[in-house]
Every structure is written in structure tokens, then in C-alpha cells.
């Protein structure tokens, strides 16, 4: 019974968390991620990088944002110019 109650509490908290994610009010909090990424390797013993660009401060954060924008804009352009057709394209 206790387990079931905890399960429900967990579910409510998780959904609440996801709802907060959806409202995007957390965006300033991302600074923590970037700072964590910059500071992390200095605070703990860091493993060695494969490439020079991995040593750029906050490399993951920068590349994540760039990748995301590139993918959305690139794909949408590709879709508009070439790939998309009306939904009944194959039925007509």
C-alpha cells in the first residue's frame, strides 16, 4: 500500500516536472549546465579528450544548441524546397 502511495507521489512529481519543462521557464537555469560543463573537468580529474574541439569551454552546450538549430532549419528548408507533399499525395 505504501509502495502504491509513493508510486503515485512519484508520478505526480514527474508529470509536474515535465509540465514545467514544457513551459520553458527553466531556460535561464541552463546556465548551470554550461557552468557545470566548464567547471566539472577542473573540479574532478577529467578524462582525456579525443579532439581539440572538445576542450573548448562548454563545448557540449554550444554544439547542442548549434546542432538543434541546424537540424530544425536545415530540415525545414529541405522539406519546403523539395521533400514535402500534400498528405493525400500517394492516394491521388
Amino acid at each position: 500500500m505504501t509502495f502504491k502511495r509513493w508510486f503515485h507521489v512519484g508520478l505526480v512529481v514527474f508529470i509536474h516536472f515535465l509540465q514545467n519543462v514544457v513551459t520553458a521557464e527553466w531556460a535561464p537555469g541552463l546556465v548551470v549546465f554550461a557552468v557545470g560543463e566548464i567547471a566539472g573537468p577542473h573540479l574532478f580529474r577529467a578524462d582525456h579528450a579525443h579532439f581539440w574541439f572538445e576542450d573548448i569551454p562548454a563545448w557540449g552546450s554550444i554544439y547542442g544548441l548549434v546542432s538543434c538549430l541546424l537540424i530544425i532549419i536545415g530540415s525545414k528548408l529541405l522539406g519546403k524546397l523539395w521533400l514535402t507533399r500534400p498528405e493525400n499525395y500517394y492516394d491521388s
Binding site: I15, H50, S67, C68, R85
Partner: protein, 587 residues
């Protein structure tokens, strides 16, 4: 060496036929017991060679059991079990039989030690998968099912041709590393057959075409077996094939690009299968121990989280009847458990730390790093960001949050939630205690996923991908469109050929006939007239001339022909005299 051995695949294939004769609880019990028994059998199986049969003078090996085959067999049997739990409520024996046959065929392909048995199970897999699509029994599903068969017949023929060529060259049907034969026709044909099943573009459009058309429960099985058994076959036969490195990386990005444009929830997930299989193909191409371990581990984790994601989307389809993101929204209030379980799968595929994707995908990416391939490393990381963007953000946003459309929905049947729960537990266990999986991989694993750099960089990547998503949210609103893929060639290619025949080709034919008219009228008729003139003037005149000449000569001759015998005798005498004179004086 042949020992007592029951093939777990044959157990499923034969056992499936018990189902139509059972009812109610017994049937449900058999549905669970069969894959559970297969799983137990795989787990207790020891490496070795089993089930060797001599056929047509060849050794057919049904049970080549080694570490690589075993790890794939564990996950195949496990997902078969999860899939059967998910379909417990479905009252359609045909679907269950097809699904169990499909799982059994996949196990058969994994344990096949020679090409003959591999081909047998390969074809059985294609057939049973097509039946799973057809059994949705809608016109669109039937059409997609037949297209599926069409593509896989092509792949099967390539495989058969490759096998026959390989046999005629080497005299052996053993299925092992094919790299010594690189460049030969057999090598290429078998590679193409495997790439068709692995859904590698441009040969992979069948996947997003067929999978979203299958039943909610059938799709769970489909996501697991065909592509991953192809990955297994590639690891076995084509490890270290350079072209696969680039092909795999391109494939990872390709799936992500198409996912941006996609509106159908399960088709979006299907494109992410292609993207994720891209990592595995890339790992096969890299060919190092870390890369092959990574490809294997990623296939293992992928089967579980992708099944979970498809189960989530299938649950929504089951409850609401909706499949398009543009029709959904606000479901989180009615389906919080489905959402939570789906999100576990989404975090796993997005490689969030402590979920399974994080410990498996990074092996392939690190292998690219260790091989000093910066471009591959960057492409795979970019695709990683795209994966989170779609499966972790876009799909749940539009499906469960987004605009509340006032849909009426409820949680799906309990067995579906239990199945999703099982898969979710597996995703988290692998993510938290990766050694569970690492200890089963074909090579020894020294890789440590939880390093400071890896964890912080991944969190940064994911966090800022989310930022990008919300910055461009307006751009991502699902649109009611379809995207062209290479299936266009066999879906619209025929119509295009017809249009071409009616349009361009008809115009060309018109031009040709006009041209021929001109040639006929101006040239041929002109030449004909000239020839007639020549005939009239030249040939006829000549004939008349010859006739007249003959007539005159014969008139002259008539004078000589008087009819008097004396004159003839005189002429003959003159002739003889002339002859004698010629003889006497000439000599």
C-alpha cells in the same frame, strides 16, 4: 558435434500453433510461457555447435552458439516476451502466431551457422513481418504490406544470388567473416541484402512506410527483429567494411532530418529507428573491438527502448484512434502513466545519463573518437541532439502537452502498461548498472561511460538542444504533409512512367511521326517520283530501243531467209570453203 538441443526459435515457431486451440486463460498463459521458455533456454545455453544436419551434401548448422549470438538471442527473446504481454488483450490468433513466428525466425537467423539456414529464417522473417502489417486489415496497411513483401523479395533474391556465387567460389556455405572476399560479386550482393534489412537508405524506405501501418501491438515486434538481425549479420560478416562508417553516420543524420518533417507519431519513431541503426552500422564499419561491442550493446538497448516508445505511441493509438501529432495534445491529464513510461524510453534513446542509451551509444561515438575520425564523431553527436529533439521533446510535447484539444482518453489496458513497465525497468537497469550488459558483450569491455567529461558534455548537449527546441517551437508545429523518400520510386514511379508516356513520350512520338511524315512526303516520295521518271525515260526508252533494234535485225535476217534449199547449200558451201581456206592458209 551434435548434442541434445531444442532450438528456441523453433520452439516459438512450432509452439505458436498451440494458440488457436486454446481459449481464455490457457491461451494467455501459453502466450507468456512460450517466449519465457525461449528466454530461459537462451540464458542457460552454453556456447558450442548444436543442431547440425547434413542436407544436399552440406552441413546445415542451426545452432552456432557464441557470445555474439547469445547476447542478441537474450534481447530477442526478452522483447518477444514483452511484446506478448503487450498483446495479451488482443483477440486475434493470426497476429499472435505471426508475431511468435517472426520472433522465432529472428532467433533462428541469429543462431544460423551457415547461409542455408540463415536464408531460410531470413525469408520466414520477411513473410511473418509482412503478415503482421497486413493484419491491420485496412487498405493502406494492405498496400504497405505488399510493398514490404516486394522490397524484401528483392533483398532475399540478392541474398540468394550472393550465397550461390559464394558457394560456387569457395565450396562452403559457412556464414562467417566475409572480409577476405571483399570486392567480389558475392560479397556485394550479400552486403546489399543485409543493408536492405537494416533499412540503410536508399534501400530503407520500406521501414517508415510499413511499420506505422501495422497494428499497435504488431509494430512492437516489427521494431525489434528485422533491422537488428541485419545488424547482427553485418557484425558477423562485414565488420571493418570502411563504406559502412560513412553510410552509418549519414544514416544517423538522415533519420533525424526526416523526423523533423514527420507528422505521424509512429512514422517519426520509425525514422528514429533508421537513425539509431545508423550508429550500429557505423560501429560495424569502424570494426574495432570497442565499436563492435558498442554496436552490439546499442542494438540491445535500442530494441528495448524503441519497443517501449512504440508501445507508448501504440497505447495512444489504441485509446484515441489518433496517429497524427497535429490532431493530438493535452493527453497528459488522462494518460500520466503512459506518458511517464514513454518518457523513460525517450530519455533512454536520447542518451540521458542513467538511462540505457547513455551507456551504449557512447561506445560507438567513443570508438569514432579513438579512431580519430572527427567528422564521424561530429555527425553522430549532431544526430544525438536530433534524437532528443524529436523523441524526447517534439513527440511528447505535441502528443501529451501542447494545445489541449479536449480529447477523451484513458490509460490503456493493464497488460499494456505492465509490458511498458518491464521495458522501462530494463532501460533503467542497463543505464544504472551497465555491467549487466557489458559482461555479455562479445569482447572484453574496458569502457567507462560515467566520466566527468562525458556526463557534463551530454547534459550540456541535451539542455541546450531543449533551448533550441523552445526557441524554434513555432517552426516545429506538425504540418499535414508527407515527405518524399525512396519509396517514391515504387509508389509513384509507375504513375510517373505513365504520365511520362502520356506527356513527354506522346509528344516525342508525335514529333517522330511528324518528322517521318516530312521525310516520307518530301524525300521518299520525291525519290520515288525521280525513280519513276528514270524508269519512264531511261529504262523504258532503252527497252523500246532494244526492241526496235531486234526488229530491224530480224527484218534484215528475214531477207536472207528465202526458203530456197540451193541458196542455203551455197551459203553452207561458201562457209566450208572459207573454213578450209582459213585452215590451209592460216596454218
Amino acid at each position: 558435434m551434435t548434442r541434445e538441443w531444442i532450438h528456441p526459435g523453433l520452439l516459438l515457431i512450432a509452439g505458436a500453433w498451440i494458440l488457436p486451440f486454446c481459449k481464455g486463460r490457457t491461451k494467455r498463459a501459453v502466450m507468456i510461457l512460450l517466449p519465457a521458455a525461449a528466454l530461459v533456454e537462451c540464458v542457460v545455453m552454453q556456447p558450442g555447435t548444436y543442431g547440425v544436419v547434413r542436407l544436399l551434401g552440406q552441413e546445415v548448422i542451426f545452432g552456432r552458439v557464441d557470445r555474439l549470438a547469445l547476447v542478441f538471442s537474450y534481447v530477442f527473446a526478452l522483447v518477444a516476451l514483452i511484446g506478448m504481454v503487450y498483446s495479451l488483450h488482443v483477440n486475434d490468433d493470426a497476429q499472435h502466431v505471426a508475431a511468435l513466428t517472426y520472433a522465432g525466425a529472428a532467433l533462428g537467423a541469429v543462431f544460423a551457422g551457415d547461409f542455408l539456414s540463415l536464408f531460410l529464417f531470413w525469408e520466414l522473417m520477411a513473410l511473418s513481418a509482412a503478415i503482421l502489417v497486413l493484419l491491420r486489415r485496412r487498405p493502406a496497411a494492405v498496400a504497405a504490406g505488399f510493398r514490404y513483401v516486394l522490397v524484401h523479395i528483392f533483398g532475399g533474391l540478392c541474398l540468394l544470388a550472393g550465397i550461390v556465387l559464394h558457394w560456387s567460389h569457395t565450396g562452403s556455405l559457412r556464414f562467417g567473416d566475409l572480409s577476405p572476399y571483399a570486392g567480389s560479386a558475392a560479397f556485394t550482393l550479400i552486403l546489399i541484402a543485409f543493408l536492405v534489412n537494416a533499412a540503410v537508405p536508399p534501400l530503407g524506405a520500406w521501414l517508415p512506410d510499413a511499420y506505422p501501418e501495422a497494428t499497435a501491438t504488431g509494430a512492437v515486434f516489427l521494431t525489434a527483429f528485422t533491422t537488428k538481425s541485419a545488424v547482427y549479420a553485418l557484425i558477423r560478416g562485414f565488420a571493418g567494411t570502411e563504406i559502412l562508417v560513412w553510410w552509418g553516420a549519414a544514416m544517423a543524420v538522415y533519420g533525424v532530418v526526416y523526423a523533423v518533417l514527420e507528422n505521424d507519431a509512429r512514422r517519426l519513431l520509425a525514422y528514429h529507428i533508421i537513425s539509431q541503426v545508423g550508429y550500429m552500422i557505423c560501429g560495424v564499419g569502424l570494426g574495432t573491438e570497442l565499436a563492435l561491442n558498442g554496436a552490439t550493446a546499442h542494438a540491445f538497448a535500442h530494441i528495448l527502448y524503441k519497443a517501449l516508445l512504440f508501445m507508448g505511441a501504440g497505447a495512444v493509438l489504441q485509446v484515441t484512434g489518433l496517429r497524427k501529432l497535429s490532431d493530438m495534445g493535452g493527453l497528459y491529464k488522462m494518460m500520466p502513466r503512459t506518458l511517464s513510461l514513454y518518457m523513460v524510453g525517450a530519455f533512454a534513446i536520447s542518451a540521458v545519463p542513467l538511462f540505457s542509451g547513455f551507456v551504449t551509444k557512447s561506445m560507438v561515438v567513443s570508438a569514432a573518437g579513438e579512431s580519430h575520425r572527427a567528422a564521424i564523431y561530429l555527425l553522430l553527436t549532431l544526430a544525438s541532439s536530433g534524437t532528443f529533439l524529436h523523441t524526447g521533446l517534439k513527440l511528447p510535447y505535441y502528443m501529451f502537452f501542447g494545445r489541449d484539444r479536449g480529447l477523451r482518453a484513458e490509460e490503456p489496458p493493464r497488460n499494456m502498461l505492465v509490458a511498458m513497465g518491464l521495458a522501462a525497468v530494463a532501460c533503467v537497469v542497463i543505464g544504472v548498472v551497465p555491467v549487466v550488459l557489458y559482461s555479455q558483450l562479445p569482447y572484453r569491455v574496458d569502457y567507462i561511460p560515467f566520466t566527468v567529461r562525458h556526463v557534463t558534455a551530454t547534459l550540456g548537449l541535451l539542455g541546450f538542444t531543449a533551448l533550441g527546441f523552445f526557441l524554434l517551437l513555432k517552426q516545429l508545429d506538425p504540418e499535414p504533409v508527407v515527405s518524399l523518400d525512396t519509396d517514391w520510386f515504387y509508389r509513384r514511379g509507375g504513375t510517373a512512367v505513365q504520365n511520362f508516356a502520356q506527356g513527354a513520350l506522346a509528344r516525342l512520338e508525335g514529333s517522330v511521326s511528324r518528322l517521318s511524315d516530312v521525310v516520307m512526303q518530301r524525300f521518299v516520295l520525291g525519290v520515288g517520283a525521280q525513280l519513276r521518271d528514270i524508269d519512264l525515260r531511261g529504262v523504258d526508252a532503252m527497252m523500246v530501243g532494244i526492241g526496235r533494234l531486234t526488229e530491224e535485225v530480224s527484218c534484215d535476217l528475214t531477207l536472207a531467209m528465202s526458203g530456197h534449199v540451193q541458196r542455203y547449200a551455197l551459203i553452207m558451201a561458201a562457209g566450208i570453203l572459207a573454213g578450209v581456206a582459213l585452215a590451209v592458209f592460216g596454218l
